[in-house]
């Protein structure tokens, strides 16, 4: 498989009171066609910002550092002028945001918003765009799509709105879908349905998915690979099976230990003490050091990327 997306040394800077801070600081990963990569981490780890950077939608005054590289099908996204960039957004890479309540325009009908997304990239007539919109709503599992096209966002439930968002994101048949916490704002029962819709459509269309989440629980059985992010960096990356059976980085182990489980021996969930420090206060060396139960003297120095097994990399001094 050739790489669809190749991200190397992605850094995002924000001006701070004492010099620039880097909430995303040297992130590298690649995605093959049709592959699902889960980007996992606590809030504040920089995963959403990384996703936005792929579309060059880093909110002002943030900037993508010049040394970064984002290649889509070998094309450098960071050097694109506005019009080619617009053609990438939605057509090549689409994004589903966390909160379906605020991601839809309150004064436009669902149909208007889907047809707009279609016609932003495909030269089709209004009638055909409407037909396609109806088809998309059916695909994401909305009953009576013809009637729903005339609905306004406030007439739909949260789950329905997220389905609409997915329909909009898929309207121009993108190669890569970035799903940023697509279920975090929804009820648990609806979460499973939305994830099922995403899975089904990904399989049917052979599109790659970057699934951004804080919940390792939804990753299993869904993602091909997992990248664990902490404090602006990817600290561990492996195939999902490998990561679940043999997590190498203490942070990843901490994430697993903090999850309640239904199977295996009974034990209390063990939260990782403390929170992710702000980008202005990241420690030198290993950034997880202050919260790490296995911190050592040498963690003061930057840990190397250690290959645990082929395809499994961990940024830690531990052998």
């Amino acid at each position: 498989m050739t790489a669809l997306l190749e991200v190397t040394g992605l850094r995002v800077s924000f001006p701070g009171a004492r010099g620039a801070v880097y909430p995303v600081d040297g992130v590298s990963f690649s995605l093959a066609r049709g592959e699902t990569l889960a980007l996992v981490g606590e809030s504040g780890s920089g995963k959403t910002l990384s996703g936005l950077a792929l579309l060059r939608l880093v909110p002002a005054p943030g900037r993508i550092d010049p040394g970064s590289s984002i290649l889509l099908e070998g094309r450098d996204l960071l050097s694109l002028t506005p019009e080619p960039l617009r053609q990438v957004r939605g057509r090549k890479i689409a994004m589903v945001f966390q909160d379906p309540m605020s991601s839809l325009n309150p004064v436009l009908t669902v149909g208007a918003q889907i047809t707009e997304a279609i016609q932003a990239h495909l030269a089709v007539s209004n009638r055909e765009a409407r037909g396609r919109a109806e088809g998309l709503l059916g695909e994401v599992g909305i009953a009576d799509p013809g009637r729903r096209l005339r609905s306004y966002p406030h007439q739909l439930s949260g789950g329905m709105r997220q389905r609409v968002m997915i329909a909009i994101a898929l309207s121009a048949e993108p190669e890569l879908l970035i799903a940023d916490e697509p279920t975090s704002a929804l009820d648990v029962t609806v979460q499973a349905q939305i994830l099922e819709v995403l899975d089904r459509l990904r399989a049917a269309r052979g599109m790659a998915v970057l699934l951004i989440t804080h919940d390792l629980g939804i990753v299993a059985g869904r993602a091909d690979r997992v990248a664990v992010m902490y404090a602006g960096r990817i600290v561990e990356q492996a195939e999902t099976g490998q990561l679940f059976s043999a997590p190498a980085h203490p942070y990843t182990r901490g994430l697993f230990a903090s999850m309640p489980r239904l199977t295996g021996p009974r034990r209390r969930p063990m939260p990782i003490p403390g929170t992710v420090p702000s980008p202005a206060a990241w420690p030198t060396g290993c950034r997880f050091r202050p919260r790490c139960p296995q911190a050592m003297e040498r963690c003061i120095d930057e840990p190397p990327e250690r290959v645990v097994t082929p395809g499994h990399v961990s940024r830690c001094w531990l052998e």
């Binding site: 939608l57 957004r89 939605g90 994004m95 839809l104 325009n105 309150p106 436009l108 121009a172």
Partner: protein, 280 residues
């Protein structure tokens, strides 16, 4: 279409708004059809008889200095006043919305430049600006008056739209539209503008009241609508000497101004209330 229907519902829910809307509707109806049934406003039909007749059977609101029917002239003046107000406000709202959208969405130096211009323009009272413009031209045809009133009325609108756009453009649905490859013009016209429509409608309506008053004021000063075209302000000016002896000549146009502006403001206030409390 939906925006219009929604605005109508907002107005109708409010008791004051409903009253204002009804009075305005009646006024527009009267202004458009009543002149056919009333004595001609131009000629002096009862020449030779005494002028300044009090209200009575032939002249329901009496006659004026030149023995012209006051009711006819008030009704005719309504056409002029409403047309001037509608034209001027349409102009000022369009310009204001465009400038505000540009400043709010483009940001940076474009925003700074436009808003400093607006600040400077707003530092001068509007009536004063109008007096200067009117003084430059000695005779003012109606279309010019409309343009002049419109050109001095968009500053507040542009600020309102800019503030709303600045708030809206950071919201998720705008970012989502960007992420889907919508271009800037599309985002401005299709995503931002309809969301500004509520506050814009309220300020537009209130602006109509302002313009009617301004036009009456200018005409009263002899600088607005020129005789013999009847305007409420001009009628009050002509009636001034007879305030004590023939009060109907000034009261009729005066009450017309008050009633119209009051109704317009009631509708505007209803829109304002509706959009600031129930915007979900």
């Amino acid at each position: 279409m939906n925006l219009l229907r929604e605005a109508w519902q907002v107005v109708w829910r409010d008791r004051g708004g409903r009253a204002g809307a009804l009075v305005l509707a009646a006024l527009i109806l009267i202004a458009s059809i009543a002149p056919r049934f009333l004595p001609d406003w131009r000629v002096m039909p009862d020449l030779g008889r005494v002028s300044l007749q009090p209200p009575g059977p032939g002249h329901w609101l009496g006659t004026d200095r030149d023995n012209r029917d006051v009711l006819s002239r008030v009704v005719r003046g309504a056409r002029v006043s409403l047309a001037v107000a509608a034209g001027a406000v349409a102009l000022s709202v369009t310009v204001g919305a465009l400038i505000g959208m540009l400043a709010g969405y483009a940001g940076g130096w474009v925003d700074s430049l436009l808003m400093r211009l607006v600040d400077s323009a707003m530092a001068v009272p509007r009536l004063f600006l109008l007096l200067i413009m009117v003084a430059i031209m000695e005779r003012i045809p109606l279309p010019v008056l409309i343009v002049v009133l419109g050109a001095t009325g968009w500053f507040g609108t542009s600020r309102l739209v800019r503030a709303e756009v600045q708030r809206l453009r950071t919201l998720d649905f705008v970012r989502a539209a960007e992420a889907l490859g919508a271009n800037r013009r599309r985002i401005a016209l299709r995503h931002l503008l309809p969301n500004v429509a509520g506050p814009l409608a309220a300020s537009t309506t209130l602006a109509v009241g302002d313009v009617i008053l301004l036009e009456a004021g200018l005409s009263f000063l002899g600088l607005g609508v020129q005789p013999p075209t009847p305007s409420w302000g001009g009628m009050i000016l002509e009636a001034q000497p007879y305030l004590a002896t023939a009060p109907w000549t000034s009261l009729a146009p005066g009450i017309a101004v008050v009633l119209t502006v009051l109704s317009v403001n009631l509708v505007g206030e209803a829109l304002h209330q509706g959009y600031t409390t129930s915007s979900a």
